[in-house]
Amino acid sequence: SQTIHQWPATLVQPVGSPLSLECTVEGTSNPNLYWYRQAAGRGLQLLFYSVGIGQISSEVPQNLSASRPQDRQFILSSKKLLLSDSGFYLCAWATSGIYEQYFGPGTRLTVT
């Protein structure tokens, strides 16, 4: 069966510090991968998606970036965090060519 992991689960970072969030999927190959952000009490905003290694599409211009160094690994990064980057970051995967997306447990990021 497939499993999706995210770490860390929670993170408190000062403004201006770098960020690296990791997402890995087990039990499948060549998945579509997605990064979402959810602000407190709000909906899900798609940040990046990837249909293959090295293929990243950005949905929202901002100071975040994403990379996919391996087939089942998706990384969200920032060089300098802003207060507005605080939120709940969710990674999701889907089988290539299939609609159903499955979400990870999320990372709660607080920028102070």
């Binding site: 249909v51 969710l90 060519g97 609609y99 159903e100 499955y102 979400f103 447990p105």
Partner: protein, 113 residues
């Protein structure tokens, strides 16, 4: 045209009652409509989904009703239970090649015991 409008924002239902959440879309290219359930501090979980070639899909106590001509779909939770208290999100997808979702803004459901 890419928006999915969800209502109500919050909903309180008595135990055993029917919870109804509605979504509307504009883009007729959408062809997959899932519903997700999210508990506080957790990732959303896929609950049920429908394609536009059917008008209704039922899984246990959860039913999606789909009205293609009105471009609306709704989630019905029959015999609502306190354990159903969560935030529910509708979504729509249909962008070829990427299978991206457009999410609604969410409905916070509280079922009173």
């Amino acid at each position: 045209q890419q928006q999915v409008k969800q209502s109500p924002q919050s909903l309180i239902v008595q135990k055993g009652g029917i919870s109804i959440i509605n979504c509307a879309y504009e883009n007729t290219a959408f062809d997959y409509f899932p519903w997700y359930q999210q508990f506080p501090g957790k990732g959303p979980a896929l609950l049920i989904a429908i394609r536009p070639d059917v008008s209704e899909k039922k899984e246990g106590r959860f039913t999606i009703s789909f009205n293609k001509s009105a471009k609306q779909f709704s989630l019905h939770i029959m015999d609502s239970q306190p354990g159903d208290s969560a935030t529910y999100f509708c979504a729509a997808s249909g962008t070829s090649g990427t299978y991206k979702y457009i999410f609604g803004t969410g409905t916070r459901l509280k079922v009173l015991a």
